[in-house]
């Protein structure tokens, strides 16, 4: 630690060169943060999603609705514990920029399907009693300053009302939170009955079904049984786990993950070249200074350590900044996309991995220059100066 001043000063020996190197490290780790947050949503599988929760969508496309009439048949299927449904409303609050998800659904069914959502019992009851009632997540309530008792308008972009109106008004009856730290609460729920009655078209359908299997049932088998039931009907179904559902949402963006992974690989490779080059230039131009340190009694190992520490410090500075900004962006994205892609999250594991990569890349970039500095002969170096 007492060498920190010396290391810090050496890092900034050439300000422009160091800044450019930092910038490339920054970009690489910013990308890393974004990719791993999205990747987390893609592969979340068992840990984010509830393994006993299945989602049923139209086989052809998620956008196609399913008949409401399926509900009883699904509920009667062996291995199904309970079932509910939701639909995509796609409205905005006050301004088209205020996009968040709204789902018409059934109050009691929805909250028992998602036990991670927490709301006072009396608020749930009030909502269930009020046809025009709605509840929303704490995140949204805080973002827009909405409180229980408010009446708020939502502008429809898809669902015009039977009377031709596009403004749907809701009484806020409750505010819910989630006890899953990765989950988002940036969405609003309102009563399906009101939706069904007031909408101009699409009556008798829902967007998708969500069901819970009984603890002893095999989710894969239940999914197959359901899909088989509706095979050859007008609306064939595709039943999958919650995680797979999130993926099918994400697939609409194309195979971004693979492309970004490849870009990221190229970025990190370039990063190693850039920072390796920075370090070897930096060592080359101060051979005599390193020889002086050794003359003063700095051991070979200290000189090795000092050069390596410079490389690691550059990685950590650029990397942590990139990770930090990435984290902020991910927080923002989670709020915007939380309802589509509930797993967007920069996990502690990803952060630790990134820090590991920073240290590792610092060592890789710095090791050869550092070894050169360590093996330097004082006499040759000083004679050359």
């Amino acid at each position: 630690m007492k060498y920190f001043g010396l290391i810090w000063k050496n890092v900034w020996r050439k300000k422009i060169r160091t800044s450019l190197t930092l910038l490339s490290v920054f970009v690489a780790f910013l990308l890393f943060a974004l990719l791993s947050a999205i990747g987390y949503a893609f592969k979340s599988g068992e840990d984010v999603a509830d393994a006993e929760r299945l989602v049923i969508i139209d086989k052809v496309s998620l956008i196609n609705p399913l008949p409401m009439a399926y509900k009883n048949r699904i509920a009667a299927t062996e291995g199904v514990h309970s079932v509910t449904h939701a639909s995509w409303f796609g409205g905005y609050y006050q301004d088209p920029r205020n996009q968040f998800a709204q789902f018409p659904t059934d109050p009691y069914e929805y909250f028992s399907m998602y036990p991670e959502l927490e709301m006072p019992e009396d608020q749930l009851e009030n909502w269930a009693k009020n046809r025009q009632g709605a509840v929303l997540g704490r995140e949204l309530a805080e973002q827009f300053g909405i409180e229980v008792g408010d009446r708020i308008p939502i502008q429809a972009t898809i669902w015009t009302k039977a009377d031709g109106g596009r403004t749907w008004e809701f009484d806020i009856e409750g505010i819910f939170e989630t006890n899953d730290p990765r989950g988002s609460t940036a969405f609003l729920l309102f009563q399906y009955d009101y939706f069904e009655e007031a909408r101009a078209f699409g009556k008798g359908t829902v967007g998708w079904y969500i069901l819970r299997v009984t603890p002893d049932a095999d989710p894969v088998q239940v999914a197959n049984t359901i899909d088989l039931q509706f095979a050859n009907s007008a609306s064939e179904t595709e039943t999958s786990t919650e995680a797979a559902f999130a993926q099918s949402f994400a697939k609409q963006f194309g195979n971004i993950a693979l492309i970004v992974t490849m870009i990221l690989g190229a970025v990190f490779f370039t990063l190693l070249l850039v920072s390796g080059n920075t370090m070897s230039q930096s060592v080359r131009e101060r051979i005599s200074e390193l020889a002086v340190l050794k003359t003063l009694g700095f051991s070979d190992r200290s000189v090795l350590g000092i050069v390596l520490a410079e490389a690691v410090l550059i990685m950590l500075m650029g990397g942590l900044l990139g990770l930090g900004i990435g984290w902020l962006l991910v927080q923002g994205a989670a709020q915007q996309l939380g309802a589509f892609l509930p797993g967007i999250f920069l996990s502690g594991e990803a952060i630790l991995t990134a820090i590991g990569i920073m240290i590792g890349a610092g060592i890789v970039a710095g090791i050869f220059p550092a070894l050169k500095a360590m093996r330097l002969s004082i006499i040759d170096a000083l004679a050359r100066a």
């Binding site: 000063k9 002086v292 009694g297 100066a385």
Partner: protein
């Protein structure tokens, strides 16, 4: 001045230059009493720097013994030598060799980073060393903001900050004008007389050599004392 600080016994140093073997120092014997101030003169390539390197534990003889204080340098490992240098010897070079990224104060503190002193103690000691060389008011200046003479003073402060018994100077005034050179030489003389430093100084300059107690001439691998003038 009876006590001996450094002894060279039968020291030879041979370099391999391609296929050719060059014997730079040949069977050299030398005793340096504690508190002495020796000037070494001689044509370039005669082995003066090589001799300083041996005395300072930067290089090892091909044969013979080098003893400084209690340390038998010729039989020590590189890391032992490195550790020994940090407290027993100070180096002063022709081109000062300060670290350009550090202030005068921080340059002087460098050798103290190898000790157990606290940050506060290091700062205090470096300040004292800068005061001794008359640059207490330039502590925060970077080398590029100092004149050649001032840079050399900072280098001298760095050489004495860990209080070594021996100072080795390789053409310390080679890059300075006469007046500045004389100031530096007077400073070395003060360090020798008032602070008891033993000094070995290589120089091309006969006037510089006059500041020393005696002058040795180095030629063709041997040393010769000429108590001339």
């Amino acid at each position: 001045m009876s006590e001996t600080l450094a002894t060279l016994t039968g020291v030879s140093k041979t370099y391999q230059k391609g296929k050719e073997r060059v014997e730079v120092l040949h069977n050299l014997d030398l005793q340096i009493p504690a508190g002495d101030f020796i000037a070494i003169m001689g044509p370039s390539g005669s082995g003066k720097t090589t001799l300083l390197n041996l005395l300072g534990g930067l290089d090892k003889p091909s044969s013979g013994m080098v003893r400084v204080g209690d340390a038998e340098l010729s039989s020590m490992s590189n890391s032992q030598l490195s550790h020994w240098r940090s407290t027993n010897v100070g180096f002063i070079f022709q081109f000062y060799n300060l670290l350009p990224v550090l202030t005068a104060q921080k340059n002087v503190e460098l050798p103290l980073l190898l000790t157990d002193f606290s940050g506060k103690e290091r700062t205090k000691r470096a300040a004292i060393a800068l005061d001794i060389v008359g640059l207490g008011d330039r502590a925060r200046h970077y080398p590029r903001e100092l004149s050649g003479g001032q840079e050399q003073r900072v280098a001298i402060a760095r050489a004495i900050v860990s209080d070594p018994a021996l100072l080795l100077c390789d053409e310390p005034t080679g890059d300075l004008d006469r007046e500045t050179a004389d100031e530096i030489l007077k400073l070395l003389q003060i360090l020798n007389r008032e602070h008891g430093k033993t000094i070995v100084m290589v120089t091309h300059d006969a006037q510089a050599a006059e500041y020393a107690n005696r002058t040795l001439h180095c030629d063709k691998g041997t040393l010769e004392a000429r108590e001339a003038v």
